[in-house]
Symmetry: C2
Subunit: 174 residues, 2 copies
Amino acid sequence: MPARAAKAEAKSEAKSAVSGKRKPKTEAQDIDASAHVGLDGLALHVGYAVRRFQLWIFQDFIKTLATVDITPTQYSVLTVISANPGLTQMAVAKRLGIERARLVHLLNALEQRTLVKRAASKVDRRSHALHLTASGEASLRQFKLLAAEHERHVIEKIGKDNRERLLEILAPFR
Amino acid sequence: MPARAAKAEAKSEAKSAVSGKRKPKTEAQDIDASAHVGLDGLALHVGYAVRRFQLWIFQDFIKTLATVDITPTQYSVLTVISANPGLTQMAVAKRLGIERARLVHLLNALEQRTLVKRAASKVDRRSHALHLTASGEASLRQFKLLAAEHERHVIEKIGKDNRERLLEILAPFR
DNA sequence: GTATTATTGTTGCATGCAACAACAATTGAT
DNA sequence: ATCAATTGTTGTTGCATGCAACAATAATAC
C-alpha cells in the first residue's frame, strides 16, 4: 500500500511530443488518456495490428457463442474432427498447431460434455480414433450457425471484400 | 515418421470430407498426421487464419529480438512512451489495450532494466509520468533496427504488397 | 525371436499472460 | 468536510505454452 513517494521535484519538464491542448480545465503537462497518443513506428508493424485485430475477433467469437459456451479453440477441434472422423490426437494437434498435452485437456472437457468420443483405434492400439457423438454433430451444426453470425460481425467491421482479401493473404498460414 | 500397420481393408470407408487417397502404402483407417486433413468450414473463418498468422509473427519477432530479450508487448510499451514522454500508466494501458494490472509488471521489469523511469507527476500525485532513460532511448534505437529486420521477414513471407494491404485493412484496430 | 528405438497419450510442473476483484492514495466536485 | 471517481498496486484465478517424464504400444535392428 505504498502509494508513491512524494519527493516531487522539478523534473526535466517532459517535452511531450503530442502537441497543444490537453484537458481544458487542467493545464496538465502529463499526457492523459484523452489526449492524442501517437504510436510512432508501431503503426507500421503488422504484428501490432494483427494482435489488436485478433483480440477483437476472439472476443466477438466468444461473445457470440457464449450461449453455447464454446471457445474458438474448441470450435476448431470439433470442426476438424467432424470433417475427418477417426482422426488421431496427434493428427489434430499437428493440424491445428496445438500441443499434445494441451489437447488432452481440451478433449477431456469435450468428452465430458459428450460432444466427442475417444474410440480405440483398430490399427494402432496406442492411439485414439476421435469421433463426434451424435449430439456432438447436432451441436456442431448449431455452433456453425453462431460462428457464421460471428463471421457476419467481421464483415460489418472490415467489409466484405476486405475480409476476402484477408483470407487470401493469410491462406498460407491455415 | 509413423507409418503404421498394414492390415489393409476396405472398411466402412470413413466418408471424410477429404476425398480418396490416404497414404499410398498403408490403407489405414484412422487418419494420421501425414494424411491430408481437411479444415472444412474453418478455412472460411478469418479468426482461425489470423490466430495462426499471429502465432507465426510473434514467434518471429521474439526470435529476431532474442538477443536483446524484448517481447512484442515490451516493444510496444517502449515505443509509445518514447513517442509520448510523460505518459501516464492509464494512458499507455488504454492506448495499447493492456490492463492496468498487467502494465504494472511490465513496467517493473522495464524499470529494473533501467530502460524506463516512473517519475512523480507534477499535476496529479496519484499518477506516474513515464519516460525512457537515456540508455532506454539508446536501447530502443537498437530494438527498432531488429524490429525492422523482423518486418522484412514478414515481407519475405507474405509479400510486400500483401503486407501493405494488411496494414490498410487492419488500420481501424490500431 | 529378442533387444532397441520411436511414437502416442498422459501427467505434472514451471512460466507467463490475461481477467477480476479488492484496496489505498489521491483528486475533483459538492 | 464529505463523497464519488480515478490511479496505481496487489493478489487471485484461470488459461495457454513448453518441457520433461512415464507407460503402453509399435516399428526396426539384430
